[in-house]
Symmetry: C2
């Protein structure tokens, strides 16, 4: 070797926090009335205690340790204690159906589970189905294990009290050692597992610290609204520890009101979540304004943001609102709608349209939008499937035959239909399975939805394909009006509005008003359900 072969390990982040950021704070809301406040010094000690306690229970290298928990300090302790010890942190999505929860625990072969006390009701009924779990550890402020309806349940705090805060993490891990895993919902069948490594998480964290990215830094106060059981909370907890940012963890079940209170009270600078969260926050802020002047950036991902939402934050509240693209398979950060220098000359409206793209591809990551002719031109019009490769992109589903559907020739095929703007920004137009193929033309359901959701009377909208004799498929719009316009909104005013923006072949054949768009466990539109409900729909002429 010419250069030191120092492995890229999460342990270096933990050591850095212990060495340089001892006095920095972590605020953790564990119930409606309790916020724990402690320092990184104490955090690292407790993390060492947790690693020691788990080791005493049999944790060893490569073992899977599951968490079933909200965003709080104990979950953050597990985020480092498990991988730094050489074991694998399986962050279980608490919103999965019970049979899926049992499946992912058994499939990952979790041997220890860390469970929030208020989430025990989701695990207790399936305990008998779990084939590999040896220990159940209950996390909470006042856990009485006798009253937990799981046999031999252990108390997290009792274990930590007995453990050694001097526990020493190994220095000889290979950087490709598995560190974490998440399962992602599949359209059909059981969830699919993705395994992250120390190397992939460290590189992803560096990317999140870049000035041209989210730019996480020591002076930040980071509040991840995105759950820690969902794609590593977009990597924010890992990067925050490594860069020494103050962290505010919002705990179980939060409302827009509560989030706004936390933003104001802790002078949050950086926060991240899905569009539905920000829709709620924007509405609440309009009604009960808080001081949000500390926020330097809101990051939004998971699905496309309607332009009205971006305008609400950027123009009304003067808070930068950046959309991004990623998925469980991509760690998740792939692209972000940062601005490039030449965009300084863009009009305010053009800038908004940059913001609602999925953005510019990050360093070390390659993206290609491909159709049957190869890579599509950067014209903002030609659609193709988004494919990705890079050092924090999965190259398989964990022990799963569906690997070959998504991973081909060294690239991840995302199943997302996108166009590339002339600036090289990705703009998702659809899921492959949601794309409307009308008479040989591809119609983007997402573009139509965004246009509908920008209408002042519309709360949510989903556009689906309905069968058509001549064109094979035609778009049908399903619209949820804002409560105050329910009953008074007309199909014609919405269609008229669309006609000013799209070619006539794109205009939906009809609009139906619905009460709610069905959603997946992570808040994405579940159009398969809508399609199923409306499969016999006849256009009213």
């Amino acid at each position: 070797m010419h250069m030191m072969d120092t492995p890229l390990l999460l342990t270096s982040f933990l050591n850095r926090a212990e060495r340089f950021f001892q006095a920095k704070k972590i605020y953790s809301r564990t119930s409606a009335t309790t916020i724990h406040e402690f320092t990184y010094k104490e955090y690292v000690k407790r993390t060492r205690r947790l690693a020691d306690a788990l080791t005493k229970l049999g944790m060893e290298r490569g073992m899977k340790i599951g968490t079933f928990a909200w965003n709080h300090h104990r979950h953050l302790e597990a985020y480092f204690a498990v991988p730094c010890a050489g074991a694998v942190l399986h962050m279980i999505n608490i919103r999965l159906a019970p049979e899926h929860i049992a499946y992912v625990i058994n499939h990952a072969e979790d041997e220890i589970l860390l469970i929030d006390d208020n989430l025990v009701p989701f695990i207790a009924p399936i305990v008998s189905q779990l084939t590999t779990v040896k220990h159940f550890i209950i996390m909470g402020d006042a856990v009485e294990v006798e009253s937990i309806p799981i046999p031999n349940a252990l108390s997290y705090e009792a274990l930590l009290a007995e453990a050694d805060e001097q526990f020493i993490f190994p220095e000889d891990l290979d950087e490709n050692t598995p560190a974490g895993m998440c399962y992602t919902s599949a359209t059909t069948g059981m969830p699919k597992g993705v395994v992250y490594t120390h190397r992939s998480i460290v590189l992803h964290s560096l990317a999140a610290g870049l000035a041209d990215s989210i730019a996480i830094r020591e002076s930040d106060v980071v509040l991840p609204v995105v759950p820690m059981f969902h794609a590593n909370a977009w990597g924010l907890p890992f990067a925050s520890v490594g860069f020494g940012a103050t962290q505010v963890l919002p705990g179980p079940m939060f409302t827009p009101q509560l989030l706004l209170e936390l933003f104001e009270a802790y002078k949050v600078t950086l926060t991240a979540g899905v569009p539905t969260i920000w829709l709620g926050v924007l509405q609440e802020q309009r009604q009960n304004p808080r001081d949000l002047s500390s926020i330097r950036l809101i990051v939004c991902g998971g699905s496309a943001s309607p332009i009205g939402l971006v305008r609400g934050f950027e123009e009304e509240l003067n808070i930068p609102y950046m959309t991004g693209y990623g998925m469980t398979e991509t760690s998740p950060l792939v692209s972000l709608s940062t601005y490039l220098t030449h965009m300084e000359d863009y009009s305010a409206d053009e800038k908004m349209h940059v913001r609602i793209t999925q953005g510019m591809t990050m360093p070390l990551i390659e993206t290609r939008i491909i159709n049957e002719n190869g890579e599509v031109p950067w014209d903002g019009k030609t659609m193709g499937e988004l494919t990705i490769r890079g050092p924090w992109i999965a190259d398989e589903y964990y022990r799963d035959e569906r690997t070959e559907e998504a991973f081909k020739d060294g690239w991840l095929y995302t199943g997302d239909i996108a166009v590339m703007t002339p600036d090289g920004y990705i703009k998702i137009t659809d899921r492959t399975k949601d794309l409307i193929k009308s008479g040989g033309e591809w119609i983007s359901s997402v573009d139509l939805e965004n246009a509908l959701m920008s209408h002042p009377k519309v709360f949510e909208a989903a556009v689906i394909a309905i069968p058509h004799e001549k064109w094979l498929e035609r778009p049908l719009a399903c619209v949820v009006p804002k409560p105050e316009y329910k009953g008074s909104i007309s199909k014609e005013e919405l269609l008229e509005n669309l006609r000013t923006q799209f070619h006539k072949t794109w205009i939906p054949d009809d609009i139906v008003f619905i009460d709610e768009v069905p959603k997946t466990s992570v808040g994405k539109f579940l159009k398969a359900k809508l399609r199923d409900e409306l499969k016999d729909y006849q256009v009213q002429v």
Copy 2:
């Protein structure tokens, strides 16, 4: 593998520049009157041409290709053409003595040399001593090879004109492939070689892009004053290409006046160099002020910055001035004097004292200051030797027995004496060999020098050890007065000033006034020469 095993290659930076930053500009000054202006699109084409031309001349993987050149666009082309093709770029320090130049070329086994036309006089006389070089390529705007006093010299531009701009770089390089090398001067003997890898340079570049570091970004206009033959120009050219920053390369032989003209004309945002450069720039700016409002950061390294210099930029000109630490062996960035959140409460004076430290250790890098008792306490007082490890730190000198003097137990022993401040910031107090050991106490020559150089009448100062019968060693100060105070400055006023700042045991036994502090080829104080000149010095009582 669970994640893609995408190697960390410089090629990904070049591809990114080609894909996303085609219209961004590079400005390259190749003579006193010529500034080339071209786009990244053209830059990448020329870089591919260069790789093709070199390949046709026999360049293959692992071959060493030397450059002997100033900071300009052709050098930047070689920065990527050579490593991306799998060969190794040897950046030769043009300021070495002729026998050292011949040594490093022979020792590295360079087979092709790229030489600036105006630097041919340094190479022509030693051509007969070069044992491995097969081709000499002359870089310049109007090279006539017939008039070059090197047999069979080739013209860079003529080769590029014949070459293929579609040259395809290999995708199958291992990330630990050597990419570049620099030799560093040794106190005794020949220079010692350091080999950088694709992995080490990519990771170092990411670190330079972090918000808490130099934060190189697409919107930057980067002017590296630090030579491209000196520790990779501190990594700025690599990172600038990867992040798409505009680059301004100042070319041969620059003056403070010229640098200020470039800063103003191209609205430079980020620049980097050694303290002597900034002393000159500050003086010139005071006399002929330019508009420097575009500069967001000056980075200073190589040796310690006197506090007066930092004040000049930060307080007088309102330009952030950040010191750092690094060496050829460390790629070079190890630490930077960024501010931490709690320093917001520091007084202006305390902030200045943070700025003149060598700063906070970067992510993924570990630093320890050790003495015979292990790591020194973080008291800002206890001295020890700075040791470093991490993924962009060398673990050997290239084919050199002196490796074992500096690399021990997986750590680089820097030979620098330092203290750690209570904030965990490194403060260099001396070179091990410059440290003054007086009666069992360690006296920092650098602290005394900084104090002397803060005196309004002093231009430069070097403090050396002189032999002493009782105390073994005592400090002697060698002072260069500012021109206007030459003859009128007194020893006593300087000593009196020191007595207000240091314990009496630290006060130099005498002060001698000299015309100039002798310096190394990279502008560092050459105290060995002073010690030699003054070895028979008798204190005048």
